[in-house]
Subunit: 425 residues, 2 copies
């Protein structure tokens, strides 16, 4: 073992993750020292909210002045855990310029302003690590960047938002409708007071932008991601899907198609025996597919203070052990690929339509789909009279064609309300 070395860290933010990082560094101090020779110490914590300071914290641990961290020559690593894209950006930018290595769990920041930070880190020869930004305790960033270096990944997909997965799992178990379950999730701390970023797909989209950028070595920003949330999924939809052997999940999917990148977030139906169907509650799971590996899956807690803190601490230890920055110093985006047009993507769709129960309806609808080259895999007619419902599942179809067909079907007089559509994975 090389000689022991003291490495001092400054934490920005002492919320759920920040306090867990502090606790983990303290609890695991001796093991990390024995295992790596790094004597890890949290020297300062920036926290403006007085109420977050624990009663037993050392007197001089906390500060409200960022300068006390960034100007301290003893602090080698600055860990940003305050979130948002304003102050967090300024803090990381300043820290890098002052010669610090940095660690962040901030997916929104990286997915919107990542390029500027990665470029700065590379130019200054500093580390910018972000394992905790995607998948909580799941080491997806390290695995993709280091272990999959020769795997030629072409697809990354999975469940990357724990809040929506928690909500959809409870709806699947018929424990309440969307609004009820969301309220419960907020009470339990699984959802924010303003849940928009989670339920609207923005959180998943930021994570998929990061994973897509790494997988295909080409920058994907948040605005490049096509996204759809789960706000319009009803308990009826989930029940109905369940009765047909499907589970509803919010899926993130990044694909390389003929040299172009597609990154999307959307709710989808999965057959109940699909491995992602059994990922329940706040768990995350990501599949990596590549020419040389076939398929790999990683699964684990996608959020939570301590799990996420293990990812932050692994980044800190990794930096502390790497005197030479190497290829991990900089962003892995060494090329610039075009984006694949969203309406050219092919998906299979589930369609539920309320139709008039009169003869000739099936023929009319089939004609519309046929005219748009949408081929039907299965069709079920349920109910009678005013309750008559038509359920169709299509073969994979160009999305442009599909939506044109649905628009036209919706204008048919036999179609009594806007059809409900969901992609099928």
């Amino acid at each position: 073992m090389s000689q022991n070395r003291v490495v001092r860290v400054g934490l920005l933010g002492f919320g759920t993750i920040g306090s867990s990082v502090y606790r983990l560094v303290t609890n695991e101090h001796d093991q990390i020292l024995e295992g790596t020779g790094v004597d890890l110490q949290v020297k300062k914590v920036l926290e403006i909210d007085e109420s977050k300071k624990p009663a037993d914290a050392p007197e001089d641990l906390f500060t409200t002045d960022f300068g006390e961290i960034v100007e301290d020559p003893e602090i080698e690593i600055v860990v940003e855990l305050i979130g948002g894209t304003g102050a967090a950006f300024t803090f990381l930018d300043t820290a890098l310029r002052k010669g610090k290595n940095v660690v962040t769990a901030n997916k929104q920041l990286l997915a919107t302003k990542g390029e500027a930070l990665f470029t700065l880190a590379r130019d200054l020869g500093r580390h910018l690590r972000f394992e905790a930004s995607v998948g909580g305790a799941i080491p997806i960033i390290k695995v993709m960047r280091e272990s999959m270096i020769a795997a030629e990944l072409h697809t990354v997909y999975g469940i990357v938002n724990g809040t929506t997965n928690y909500i959809l799992t409870r709806m699947y178990n018929c424990e309440g409708d969307y609004a009820d379950v969301l309220t419960q999730a907020q009470k339990l701390g699984y959802a924010e007071a303003d849940p928009t970023a989670d339920v609207g797909g923005g959180d998943a989209a930021a994570k998929m932008a990061i994973l897509g950028s790494i997988a295909f070595h080409s920058r994907v920003t948040l605005s490049d991601v096509t996204m759809e949330g789960i706000q319009s999924i009803t308990l009826d939809d989930v029940r109905y899907a369940k009765s047909l052997g499907f589970v509803v999940k919010l899926i993130g999917a990044a694909r390389l198609i003929e040299g172009s990148v597609s990154v999307r977030v959307f709710p989808a139906l999965l057959p109940v025996d699909h491995p992602l169907s059994s990922i329940s509650g706040a768990h995350n799971a990501v599949f990596l597919q590549g020419d040389a590996i076939g398929e790999i899956m990683l699964m684990g807690p996608g959020a939570g203070g301590m799990p996420t803190a293990t990812a932050v601490v692994s980044d800190i230890v990794s930096i502390a052990n790497t005197k030479d920055v190497g290829f991990l110093q900089s962003c892995s985006c060494y090329r610039k690929l075009p984006f694949y047009p969203a309406d050219e993507m092919e998906s299979a769709f589930f369609i539920k339509m309320n139709v008039e129960d009169v003869s000739g309806v099936l023929a009319q609808i089939a004609a519309v789909f046929g005219a748009h080259k949408v081929s039907i895999e299965s069709m079920i007619q349920k109910g009678r009279g005013a309750e008559a419902e038509l359920v169709l599942i299509t073969h994979p179809t160009k999305e442009r064609d599909f939506f044109a067909a649905i628009g036209e079907a919706n204008r048919l007089s036999c179609c009594k309300s806007k059809p409900m559509t969901l992609r099928v994975l």
Copy 2:
């Protein structure tokens, strides 16, 4: 990006994995160069079998003289892919002493003579990397050593042998009995001509010795692992388990119990909805459980030339990018823990007994189990007369007590043949 650097590699062995590593390094050369600045070149291949040389290989690529590799100052990294514990040890030992960094996929070697090699690598300040030794393309070693550095792992368990999983999967699908399916597996290249190491549990035991050593920072060698293979599992057993909602899998399990280490390999019954039950064919899957992370699972192809080659190449690239060896240079075993006595372990058991169909039999058997403190969770009596069968599942029980009870039950006159027992996960 730092300056490009040529890194020359010597391969020992050009079998399935060796030839795949060569192909992958060639195919991925430009991507690795762009991504990491490493200009990776296989300079020499040691292969004694003339028939393994591809027709289109460069004239001077192959050698039958190890000296041409180990004495070549241009070769920085020696990759051992010949297997076995004889020549492989000598080659790696010599390569380290000659100043080379080394990579190996050789689980048997590491699980039996790993300590000597790790000590030598540490003393000489060289890398000894072994990602491909466990789990094929699954980056389990990197995840455990680097990402789980603060996770306080206490349990590592899963399916780590693809051959037995392939056999058990086919038996579960009723595609043949053990002997048939093994013969087919041999024909398809999923099993060796001499299948003992796989079906006897030795391959899984070597892998679990490696995973246990990393998880608990204390050396586990092959001889420390308690193991049982699948040779005595019959198609009837598998069918019978299936009818009760169970799947038979060969499980590797490493646990830290009150500061002592237990590493075991055994066939077990898993409820059909257990995540490992759906791992089919030659796939591997490993669960990591720790105080700070809860539970993480990694799943993927556990063998195969190209998947395993991705792990070897990731090790090579990692070494090529690390001028400073850091904590990953040496074995992570910095302490010496005792082993937990195998017969003190607690397991739940499944028992199938052929019994006489006379009154009082149940009472007799229940009395025997009761006397040994083995508590029964469920009991089913099936059939009548000569076909009468008793199926019991116990609560978790100290194994010593369980086997004492089974021995005594077996001596009862009402017990017509040796009871079949399997652990239940």
